[in-house]
Symmetry: none
Subunit: 233 residues, 2 copies
DNA sequence: AGAATTTTTATAAAACATTTACGAACCTTT
DNA sequence: AAAGGTTCGTAAATGTTTTATAAAAATTCT
């Protein structure tokens, strides 16, 4: 759907950052590393990560200072990672603005779960502001969250494959879409030759969408090339 | 306007709850105690706390189940407190919707700091969703306080799992809910593949809710995807 | 132990994707 | 302009996966 989530790691010990970077990367995150608080703030400025994992003790601006600085300008989740397990230190970090505090040595699975939890929260908060994603073109209105299509106000039920095809068409209105493009997009690279699929599914969509399926108005054929979706009005 | 923040403590061990209650109260919070998950959900509907601190192992609906049930209807911060320190357990709890996991024995100052951190977030995000004790949509009316469902005025008895499923459906009217979503929300992440559960429980709900269970009107199936709840009128 | 509930198992029915078939329309070549 | 080959639209046959339902087995609660 959208881009990978961005995580900024701040630590001056290469052994730690190497492990973290690899693990987070393989779990689908986009990762960058900064070796102290100052570098972290710079990276924050021009990369705008979704979450920060930082060590506490570092040369220069340390983890506590980094928390305060980040909190002054952002609400992104911060997870502090530290060898120090004293309660006093934890309280300091949390009150400085950290969202979570994990003591080294730590289990990678736990850290990943805590990262998921933190990101889940910010995701939820974002979703409250943004209305559910809707593709609206011409006579068509497709609510991605509800998985619903309406044409000129009346709802049309689509099977999964029909729906996938429709999403692709609506996402590229007016453009000529080659057989190849559509087949790889909806059926995957293995089915590039199966133009029959397209014929039957386009036919099915037309039956459901068009007033006169025989002389289509929305899904137009580009002979020898592919199809084109004209959303109308 | 400057009401106290409300914290709900869920634990069946009086020694723990007594300490927590006193400590949190002296730190300016408004505190209530529930001794199991079921009581917690009732108090939630009744009192709408700002944060929940819960034990993991309890008789009846345990901490994990409580997390899932709360997450189905609210985004309030949940802190899990447990003697169990295994990584797997932590991951389970966090993925079930917990925001934080603290291992007993714990330092009171740390817990307080973690509570402050959690509350700070929700304050900042202004996620003050007024959790109404009654969900009322279409022909349905679900009272969270006494766990009662009425359809078109007549009461329907539901078993615990049926109830959980119903709560989730009613909380997301009109949306297509994938098998995956429903299974993780109600049975937890371990049961993502057990679509049979869904089939039998949806069937059971239909028998109780629908006039004609064979041609359902409220709980609609979206083949290959999941189900959709249409609350009617 | 007995009742209620959840989980597992089995089977028939339904929804859907894929494949096949064939006539019509279209291009190319002669 | 006619023949041969190709693409396109449509309907229908086939096969696979998913769903509905009942009922047995296991678990949990009282």
């Amino acid at each position: 759907m959208n881009d990978k989530q961005r995580i900024l790691i701040v630590d001056d010990e290469p052994q730690i950052t190497r492990v973290l970077r690899r693990s987070l990367t393989t779990h689908g995150y986009d990762v960058r590393v900064a070796s102290d608080g100052l570098a972290a703030l710079q990276t924050f400025g021009d990369w705008s990560p979704d979450l920060v994992v930082t060590d506490l003790s570092m040369p220069g601006t340390d983890g506590l200072q980094l928390c305060r600085n980040l909190r002054a300008i952002s609400q992104l989740p911060i997870i502090v990672l530290s060898v120090r397990g004293e309660e006093r230190t934890k309280v300091q970090a949390l009150d400085a603005g950290a969202d979570d505090y994990v003591t080294k040595p730590f289990g990678m699975d736990e850290l990943l779960a805590r990262i998921r939890a933190a990101l889940r929260r910010t995701q939820a908060a974002k979703l409250d502001d943004v209305a559910s994603p809707v593709l609206e073109v011409g006579d068509f209105r497709l609510d991605l969250e509800d998985r619903r299509l309406t044409v000129k106000g009346s709802e049309v039920h689509l099977t999964p494959k029909e729906y996938d095809l429709m999403v692709y068409l609506i996402s590229h209105p007016g453009k000529v879409l080659t057989h190849h493009t559509l087949l790889t997009a909806i059926w995957g690279g293995d089915s590039v030759e199966q133009t029959e699929y397209l014929r039957v599914f386009v036919g099915q969509l037309r039956k459901k969408i068009e007033q006169q399926p025989a002389t289509p108005r929305y899904i137009l054929t580009e002979p020898w090339i592919g199809y084109r979706f004209d959303p109308g009005s």
